[in-house]
């Protein structure tokens, strides 16, 4: 009986129950498709509504296609590289094309339970897919479709799979440090956010940015996307417990309250900054809260989650409204400003809110300063690995097929120029 060891469970492997609990399987299958919904149509509409109408189809098609490609790469070599049966501190191997997986094989959870390994493979697959799609938030409206596809394959291989292994797999470098990352603050959000930042520098600004007005063409659709993301995120966070247990319930309540706090706080900050509380502010605050609670979902009490969500909104607001214009980089959809910055706030904050003194699930032996230092190390490694890996991946793509569309295509819109279609006829 083959058992994958995703995290915490190497010692428990011998004692693991051989039969997957149907309740846990059912929840994990549900959680998995909730995460798929986050990508399509969640992220597609969220990002799509923020871009100009001439690029709506391009944005949605790049997201959907990058995700689809990520799924195929995942089952080909991704799962093997992140969660394979043999590995070192940085990557694993031994399950190309899921060779080690059958309908009977199981994946250990954080207790003595197991879930069906195909379910675990599928669940993690959606994480890889959404992370690849998130990076595109910094490259929309100017990156070629073919470049997105090639970049996705290379980036997943040299950035995402190793980081996923380091943080979540037994034997992984950051996992062995004892870093806390419940659902992917480092693996998904810091990873995607920093990659996005590097990408927007290498790709360059959109033509006309920032002088030419480029307001969102449909905040209505962005709001729809936000709702789908919030609902889907329960699969993302609560599903990361790998069981339908009390900790999953904790992750669920945290995913409610951190998000609510983030949403309202963003709008409060807008007022404080002299603007009107806005719909986009609500949507941004929702995401800032969700991102920050992602590493803390099962690692915090509800009160800590509320504080985390609120703090994330404040810092992310500063990042997108003050720091971005000051430095002048065109992180078009604030992938770094919200996912990167919010992920950093959440990852380090997890070391704080884990404390039992703050209602967190930490034990009596918890030392906050030590844990925060581990979190900081995890954040720094993620930033470095993602940053360097993304630069390498982009330069390879640039050399082979180039990154940007022509200026004319950029002017008339990528829907027509790259896809031969109009979103609105």
């Amino acid at each position: 009986m083959l058992t994958a060891v995703p995290a915490w469970a190497q010692e428990a492997a011998e004692a693991a129950a051989p039969v997957a609990n149907p309740g846990n399987n059912a929840w994990m299958m549900t959680a998995t498709i909730l995460v798929l919904m986050m990508i399509l149509p969640g992220l597609a509409l969220f990002y799509g509504g923020l871009t100009r109408s001439k690029n709506m189809l391009s944005t949605m098609t790049q997201i959907g296609s990058a995700a689809a490609l990520a799924m195929l790469v995942w089952v080909a070599w991704g799962y093997s590289t992140a969660f394979g049966p043999e590995g070192n501190a940085f990557y694993s191997w031994g399950s190309l094309f899921l060779s080690s997986v059958t309908s009977d094989s199981t994946a250990a959870t954080f207790s003595d339970e197991v879930i069906s390994e195909y379910v675990f493979v599928s669940f993690q697959m959606t994480f890889a897919a959404i992370t690849a799609a998130l990076v595109l938030g910094a490259t929309v409206e100017r990156m070629k479709f073919s470049a997105v596809m090639l970049f996705t394959v290379i980036w997943l291989t040299i950035v995402y799979f190793p980081i996923a292994h380091m943080v979540w797999a037994g034997g992984g470098l950051i996992f062995e440090w004892g870093a806390l990352d419940f659902a992917g603050g480092t693996v998904v959000h810091i990873n995607a956010g920093v990659s996005a930042l590097v990408a927007c520098f290498i790709l360059g600004k959109r033509n006309g940015y920032p002088k030419e007005p480029m307001p969102p063409h449909s905040l209505t659709l962005t709001m729809v996307g936000t709702g789908l993301l919030w609902v889907g995120w329960f699969g993302f966070n609560a599903g990361s417990e790998l069981e339908a247990d009390g900790t999953a319930g904790l992750a669920m309540i945290n995913t409610f309250v951190a998000t609510a706090a983030g949403a309202l706080m963003w709008m409060l900050v807008e007022k404080f900054a002299g603007h009107k509380p806005s719909a986009l502010g609500f949507c941004s605050g929702v995401i800032a809260g969700l991102v920050a609670v992602t590493p803390a979902a099962g690692n915090s009490g509800p009160l800590g989650a509320i504080v985390l969500g609120a703090v994330s909104s404040v810092i992310c607001f500063i990042a997108v409204a003050k720091i971005k214009p000051a430095f002048g980089y065109d992180d078009s959809l604030d992938a770094f400003g919200i996912h990167g910055v919010g992920g950093i706030v959440g990852a380090i904050g997890t070391g704080i809110v884990y404390s039992p003194a703050l209602g967190g699930p930490g034990g009596d032996d918890f030392v906050m300063s030590a844990q925060v230092w581990i979190q900081v190390k995890a954040v720094l490694v993620s930033i470095a690995w993602a940053g360097i890996g993304t630069a390498v991946a982009l330069f390879i793509v640039k050399m082979i097929i180039g990154l940007r569309v022509s200026e004319q295509v950029e002017r008339e819109g990528l829907d027509l120029g790259e896809h031969g279609e109009s979103a609105y006829n």
Binding site: P210, P213, P215, P216, A273, H275, K276, S278, L280, G281, S284, F317, V320, A321, K322, K324, P325, D334
Partner: protein, 112 residues
Amino acid sequence: MKLIIAIVKPFKQDDVREALSSLGIAGMTVSEVKGFGRQKGQTEVYRGAEYSTNMVPKIKIEVVCEDEVAPRAVESIQQAANTDSIGDGKIFVLDVGQAVRIRTGETGDTAL
């Protein structure tokens, strides 16, 4: 024949249409336009990025009528579209060289 072009606030469209039809003017062309005069646009803010929109949405009404009716039509439009505030709009009157009814080929005043 005169071509009357009236640029008015969008919510005044029905008032102007009723005022003109009570004069016997039964047809008009309406387009949605943007523009500005003394009325400035709004400032929109998206995640801290401010955009001043100089353009304000308006309705452009175009009517062709006989020379005798034109002065009363202009006065009717002005009264119907007036709200005593900046941005109420403007009316322009041009001479028309020819008019034709496509269905019958009639020309001149009988085409109106």
